[in-house]
């Protein structure tokens, strides 16, 4: 079940769109935030609230890579390894995350603190390598700066 605040948020979202289906994408985001990842209950909650059939809501949710289809750590690291980032050492950063934090691509740390998702270009080629931690943007990464940045996320 959604919190009252989430219900209100989705209702506000709904009001901005002409049809309930159009509001699905942002509403699924809210559900993902509320439930941690897109559990069956998360889809049910969205579909009941918007009046969109469940199977359809799930179809939309599973289409997009940036929704979480499985349980994730408390903080999600989205690291780019596409061309610019790769040239400037993103592969090394992947290795670093593994050796320093035990964090594998697509995996979650044992303590549930971080999950790592490998991205294909997040639009920061000029300041590569780059990553997102939750909704925060970080660029010009080095092993040292990663260590510092992640230290802020408990």
């Amino acid at each position: 079940m959604f919190s009252e605040a989430a219900v209100r948020e989705i209702q506000e979202i709904r009001a901005k769109y002409p049809t309930a289906r159009a509001a699905l994408l942002p509403a699924i985001y809210v559900a993902q935030r509320e439930f941690g990842w897109l559990t069956p209950e998360a889809y049910e909650a969205v579909s009941d609230l918007l009046g969109v059939p469940r199977a359809i809501a799930r179809g939309v949710g599973t289409f997009y890579a940036m929704y979480r289809q499985k349980p994730m750590g408390r903080h999600v690291v989205q690291l780019c390894t596409n061309v610019s980032c790769m040239i400037l050492g993103a592969e090394r950063l992947v290795d670093f995350l593994k050796s320093r934090f035990g964090l594998e691509p697509g995996g979650t740390t044992q303590d549930g603190r971080f999950s790592l998702v490998i991205m294909e270009c997040i639009g920061a080629c000029g300041t590569a390598p780059a990553m997102l931690v939750n909704d925060d943007f970080y660029e010009n990464l080095t092993e040292k700066s990663i260590e510092e940045i992640l230290g802020k996320y408990r």
Binding site: P53, R54, A55, I56, R58, G59, F63, Y64
Partner: protein
């Protein structure tokens, strides 16, 4: 007029259509995969690409509208190349397991690849893997074969209105799944099966048991389950029905079926079918011969008639049997036994309600086209869920809503909950007060039309201001006012009446109020019908007060006419209703009962009471296809042929006459033939040698069926009937107002599930696996108040007895009700029901049986 040229052929079009439709109309084939004539256009598969002069790229013929002067080519080298490419892509992930796939032989992909496809593919990568899903009882999902044409999804959402499945994931990983990812948990109509061009969603019932080309015959016949009367095609191999499919273009169901029609046919081949006549000797039913059993029944009936008179004998006809069976049976009762003691379970609601409505509006008032519902601009539903009772009719209501029509419901109607219904939920037993409010308001808004005086004088007596109605029923005045407004502004409204308002305290008064609503807003009336030939059994004169064609027995001229036709006197005295029969059996004045294709012990209220009454009979004869609760008590049991093994006609709820055709062979006799044999042994000759013979007599005798013939029915059934409807017999309208409500407590309700229909469906394994066992369905509030949760065993008790059932908590159930189905042996809702009759309709009142519910002790 639009003129297009396709492959050099000039085609003239009356109305705008797509290039694909234009080509098809001229017999030019364009390959398609995602196109389906019943579905919204999609343009996803790119197989229908064609060249259009002056257009830059190839165009999809299925979405491109034909424009005047267009020049189109459908088969060029360039097009073939593209089609080859599309198919090569589709085959990247396709398992090519045709030798093992049930679809092979009727697979659209197979046909396309055979015609246009590449012989080898260039992709070396591994194909995607997905295990075949066998989690469902009636459906198999094999997603390796899916070509993501979305036909099933569009069918499920846009036509069936269930939206139970969707395409999930992206790109090469996309495929179709129900929400759960495993079991469909849907309406199980199987219409997605019809839609799927490949072997990705298929019926499980015939899995790996035949190849499409091995089918020996296809028989078009009528569904045996409900009053909608869908046309279905039974496909047969080795004299076994392997599969049932619909056909596009049939008048009632046009390519669609519901779960019962599609997956409910297996009872025909059930091992439990009765095979030989049985006679009770020393208290045990023993196998006998036809000769002995027929001789015995004829002799006993003769003796009893001589000793006690014909009125000591009664017959129960069947809304599952054909018109021909029922006609012969009532004639037998009237002519051979000399009694009008003939009735059927149509008495439990349908017959009385129809008579009531026809008495006001004239015969045929409820004979309205089902597909017409889709074009109504408002549909008022009272007394049940049409999508469960008469599913294909329910689809028309959903379609109406999709087209923008208003759906108005009295009570919560689960099957239309996604269609934004205006819902009024009156407290239990206050429906009449609510309707009084509606009628009062409509009367003020619309005025009286002045055409039916008897009804208007009743309407004038009705007075309940909206605020009072709202208060009494526990709805808000605002909702009630909006409801009335929607009704009064509708220009083509329809009214759908279900059994729950008929079988309720004050049923006749409810019907009067609903008739008043229909009259004031000029709505067409549809009366839901649970049995395939419920209309027919009444029209054939299987009623104590009606002769064939629904002609009242009490009119001397009518009786004389039938006497002349039958060359036999017809008793003047009105016979007993089915309930009178039970009473008379209990009282000892009824000595013999002849039951054709019915199971009164199970299908009438108060099983124990009925059983006790029947025990007192000197002779009980039962004709059936299975050993039923009633047959077990009989002195003689005749095995009858089933619906699939004979010819005849059914009359559906629209009063459309349709032909049943024999799909499979079986030794034995049709119900009518058994009756004819018994009559013959009693010295009453009925000269019928086929169902068609009987029909010929019906058309001579019944004014309602005048001048019809099988030959004419052969084409597509006859709607409504060509004969003369009976009008103007209207006297006063008798109604019985309900007594004041008796406050709180729980009452028994009869659940009418989509997947069942009494004693036939419980012998159809497919349906039983979908809905396996009886449950006590209660609302979350009822459950919470008694600390009950899903699955708890409870004892539901009434003054009649008790049942022990698992609890199902269901949001759709009203707080004051405990809903139980009447389908499962030994656990039928009716067995708990007190028998109280509405004095006017003479139908049982179903919602006044108080029950208690408590955890079952162990």
């Amino acid at each position: 007029m639009i003129t297009v040229t396709i492959n050099g052929k000039e085609i003239k079009l009356e109305k705008p259509v797509t290039v694909l439709e234009a080509a098809r109309s001229a017999g030019i084939k364009i390959p398609t995969l995602c196109y389906h004539e019943q579905l919204e256009k999609y343009g996803g598969c790119r197989l229908c690409l064609v060249e259009v002069e002056k257009m830059p790229r190839l165009q999809t013929a299925c979405t491109l509208m034909a424009a005047d002067g267009m020049v189109v080519r459908t088969e060029t080298e360039a097009i073939a190349d593209v089609r080859r490419g599309v198919l090569e892509f589709l085959l990247i992930n396709h398992p090519l397991d045709c030798p093992y796939c049930d679809k092979a032989g009727e697979c659209e992909l197979q046909d396309l690849v055979e015609k246009y496809g590449p012989t080898t593919g260039r992709f070396k990568e591994k194909k995607r893997k997905a295990p075949e899903s066998l989690e469902d009882p009636v459906l198999v999902r094999n997603m390796e074969r899916c070509v993501v044409c979305t036909r099933c999804v569009r069918m499920c959402e846009g036509v069936q209105g269930a939206a139970a499945i969707g395409v999930i994931n992206r790109g090469g990983h996309s495929h179709v799944e129900p929400f759960s990812g495993g079991r469909f948990e849907c309406e199980y109509c199987g219409n997605c099966v019809s839609a799927c061009p490949v072997g990705a969603i298929m019926s499980r019932l015939h899995r790996h048991s035949y190849r499409p080309w091995q089918l020996v015959s296809e028989t078009e016949t009528i569904c045996p389950y409900c009053g909608v009367g869908c046309t279905l095609v039974a496909q047969v191999r080795d004299d076994v029905i392997k599969r049932v499919v619909p056909r596009i273009g049939t008048p009632v169901n046009n390519g669609l079926l519901c779960s019962r029609g599609r997956f409910g046919y297996e009872f025909v081949g059930s091992k439990e079918r009765l095979t030989t006549p049985l006679i009770k000797k020393n208290g045990v039913l023993e196998q006998s011969t036809w000769e002995e059993a027929i001789g015995f029944v004829a002799r006993r009936l003769g003796e009893l008639k001589t000793r006690y008179g014909g009125d000591a004998i009664a017959g129960i006809a069947s809304p599952r049997c054909t018109n021909e069976d029922n006609y012969v049976f009532q004639k037998f009762m009237r002519v051979a036994l000399g009694t009008n003691n003939i009735d059927s379970t149509a008495r439990t609601g349908y017959a009385g309600a129809q008579a009531f409505i026809e008495n006001i509006f004239g015969q045929g008032a409820t004979a309205n086209l089902i597909p017409g519902l889709a074009n109504a601009d408002a549909v008022l539903i009272a007394g049940g869920d049409p999508t469960a009772v008469n599913p294909i009719l329910g689809l028309q209501i959903r379609s109406c809503a999709r087209k923008g029509g208003n759906i108005l419901t009295i009570g919560h109607v689960k099957g239309v909950r996604h269609y934004n219904p205006a819902e009024l939920k009156p407290n239990v037993h206050t429906e009449a007060a609510l309707l009084e409010g509606v009628v009062t308001a409509l009367k003020e808004k619309k005025g009286l039309p002045g055409s039916i005086q008897t009804l208007e004088s009743k309407i004038k007596e009705i007075h309940r201001p909206l605020d009072d109605a709202a208060r009494t029923c526990g709805v808000t005045e605002k909702d009630l006012a909006a409801f009335v407004e929607a009704l009064s502004t509708a220009s083509t409204p329809a009214l759908v009446i279900g059994k729950e308002v008929i079988q309720s305290a004050g049923g006749s008064y409810n019907l009067l109020l609903l008739s008043a609503v229909a009259y004031l807003v000029n709505a067409r009336i549809h009366l839901l019908s649970e049995r395939a030939n419920e209309q027919g059994v009444v029209d054939m004169g299987c009623a104590p007060d009606l002769l064939p064609g629904c002609r009242p027995l009490s009119y001397v001229e009518f009786r004389r006419r039938y006497e002349a036709a039958w060359k036999s006197p017809i008793p003047e005295k009105q016979g007993m209703t089915i309930f009178d029969m039970i009473d008379a059996a209990k009282a000892g004045s009824l000595r013999a009962l002849y039951v054709m294709g019915e199971n009164p012990v199970f299908n009438l209220p108060n099983a124990k009471g009925v059983e006790a009454a029947l025990r007192g009979l000197e002779l009980l004869v039962v004709q059936d296809i299975f050993m039923t609760e009633t047959a077990r008590m009989a002195d003689v049991v005749f095995p009858a042929l089933s619906w699939a093994e004979r010819e005849g006609t059914f009359t559906n709820m629209e009063r459309r006459l349709q032909l049943l055709r024999k799909a499979v062979n079986r030794e034995g006799m049709e119900d009518w033939r058994i009756v004819v044999e018994v009559a013959g042994n009693m010295g009453v000759r009925m000269h019928f040698s086929s169902a068609e013979d009987i029909f010929a007599e019906i058309t001579r005798v019944s004014p309602l069926h005048r001048d019809l013939s099988y030959e004419e029915l052969e084409k597509s059934g006859i709607y409504p009937y060509k004969g003369e409807p009976l009008r103007g017999v209207t006297g006063d309208i008798a109604v019985a107002k309900p007594a004041a409500g008796d406050g709180g407590g729980l009452f028994l309700g009869i659940e009418r599930p989509l997947f069942h229909s009494g004693t036939l469906s419980r012998r159809a394994p497919g349906l039983v696996k979908i809905y396996e066992t009886a449950v006590a369905r209660i609302s979350p509030a009822t459950a919470a108040a008694r600390s009950l949760k899903e699955g708890d065993m409870v004892r539901v008790s009434s003054v009649i007895g008790y049942l022990e059932l698992p609890v199902a908590v269901d949001f759709a159930v009203r707080d004051a009700l405990v809903m139980i189905t009447n389908n499962f042996e030994g656990r039928g809702a009716l067995s708990l029901m007190e028998l109280v009759l509405d004095p006017v309709l003479r139908a049982p009142v179903a919602d006044k049986t108080a029950v208690t519910i408590e955890k079952a002790g162990r």
